[in-house]
Symmetry: C3
Subunit: 220 residues, 3 copies
């Protein structure tokens, strides 16, 4: 199986970074009791926006793409500060931001998975790299904020949506679909699952042992 | 000094990954109050099983071995889910799991140290890489669970056992022992120290300043 | 723009590592309630002393310099143990240690930024790598100790000082200043800002939304 990485226009990549950083900063801003300063918000926001892509490239053994141009860090820091300063405005746009965030999740997963395939990785590791690229920013945000990782908790299928989209993408590439088409379908799958999960409150079951499940009893 | 990395059969490597993931999932399952969902257990288990090897290869600047085959992630995720579902059964096998875990600790330390030597690293960094490979999974587990790192606390010589085994291994290679023989001896040293520490409750002293130690007093 | 990395003498590099590890161990020793053992202090100290340089080299895609010689790990571990054993003595030298630490912050930032420039990275990523190299050790310390990252809190301009110094350095290199001269000026800028911040208690404002700022009211 071979594949070429999806190369998306710089403005689209930067838009995704900006959105990720904006959300990271909005999130950090809600923890007023921790006395996080301006710099702290910028750090958390930047990590949220760039973390996924940096982890992806470290796993692939290359210099992170975010370090090969001045734009990424500049956009991430500015978006973080903007998110902090205008948090009241953005908190009214929650619905729009959820949609754009789902889109970012899908696009990052698709870029990560196709980049991994282009590096010659097998299918399952490519899915893994895609998911890490999609959710790595939010994991890094939570580690820096000293919170348990949000997506591990009973929530709204954040990582599941990313995983489903990249699985579809990798399967389509495996049967010969052009990378770009597979990437678009994969992104759509992620966006749809994520938005339906938010809308209808879908969650995964909490972890529990099999022996705790209800059992059939023989009628006496 | 030159050395070749120990190449162990894939089934043995995957068995170690499965055991690490199983234990990571069992561990995560004990924190019911945190409402970790199915995915969270799979993430923690996978990190516990693959984290050490991934950190080792990131330090060595190569694509992690776990990403070069479909098997590693598949085994890690399945072992995690199995660990969660069958936690009652596995909790009765605690003694067996402790033994297998000590073996995994030793084998991972030996693979990590010999791989580092094969990459041309000097002795002390090779020991460091071996220890990181051996304990990295449990550190990653604790960071993701937002716990202080278990092995830093007064405990049962987990990292010490790994360190002692890799020190013996590297010393033996330095005086000309074939890598495989040194690896086996190093693994045995780790396993023995770890099991004796568990059995007899050996711990390191708590950190304290010299000035807190009891002093000799002159008889008056 | 081209640049050569500043190559500083090994003894200077090791002195910086020793100081970082010493401080990391002193810091870890203050948390008696966590029952951290000898090994835990050594781990935290080593991470504090070597973390910045390791993160820098991982981002640049090369084997960490600290792993290419036996000295770095040896010095880091010994300094950690020394810091723990002699914490009462060192706590009386707080002023001296603050000065040396500011120097270390500046030197690490300068080494990191010039190394990034030598690898062909653009200006802003080079600043980023310099700051990561300067503060990475303290971030790693806090993650391992399960604390929120100290420098994100209202504090004494730790990362700001590192950022200002590397910005000056990169700007000077961009207009043609020799790397070594730019590195010295950048280091001095970092040291001066850091020491003035400690002396006069300078802090960044806490994060807050624009709409929370006082507004002008029309006189009625």
């Amino acid at each position: 199986m071979s594949a070429t990485a999806i190369s998306i226009p710089l403005w689209a990549d930067l838009s995704a970074v900006a959105l990720g950083s904006l959300q990271g900063a909005l999130f950090a801003s809600t923890f007023r009791d921790r006395r996080i300063d301006l710099l702290g918000v910028a750090i958390v926001g930047t990590a949220a926006g760039l973390g996924g892509g940096i982890l992806r490239d470290v796993l692939l053994g290359v210099i992170p793409r975010a370090l090969e141009s001045n734009w990424y860090l500049l956009v991430a820091v500015l978006a973080s500060l903007l998110g902090m300063l205008l948090q009241r405005i953005f908190s009214r746009l929650a619905a729009l931001i959820t949609v754009l965030d789902a889109l970012t999740l899908g696009v990052y997963g698709a870029i990560g998975a196709t980049k991994a395939l282009a590096f010659g990785l097998p299918e399952i590791p490519a899915i893994f790299v895609g998911v890490v690229a999609a959710v790595g920013g939010s994991v890094m945000r939570d580690v820096l904020m000293n919170l348990t990782i949000a997506m591990m908790h009973v929530g709204s299928l954040y990582a599941v949506a990313a995983g489903a989209g990249t699985i579809v993408l990798v399967a389509m590439v495996a049967v010969g679909t052009p990378t770009l088409a597979a990437g678009i379908v994969g992104t759509v799958v992620t966006v749809v699952i994520r938005l339906l999960a938010v809308r209808f409150g879908w969650t995964l079951p909490e972890q529990r042992a099999l022996s705790r499940l209800p059992r059939w009893r023989r009628p006496r």
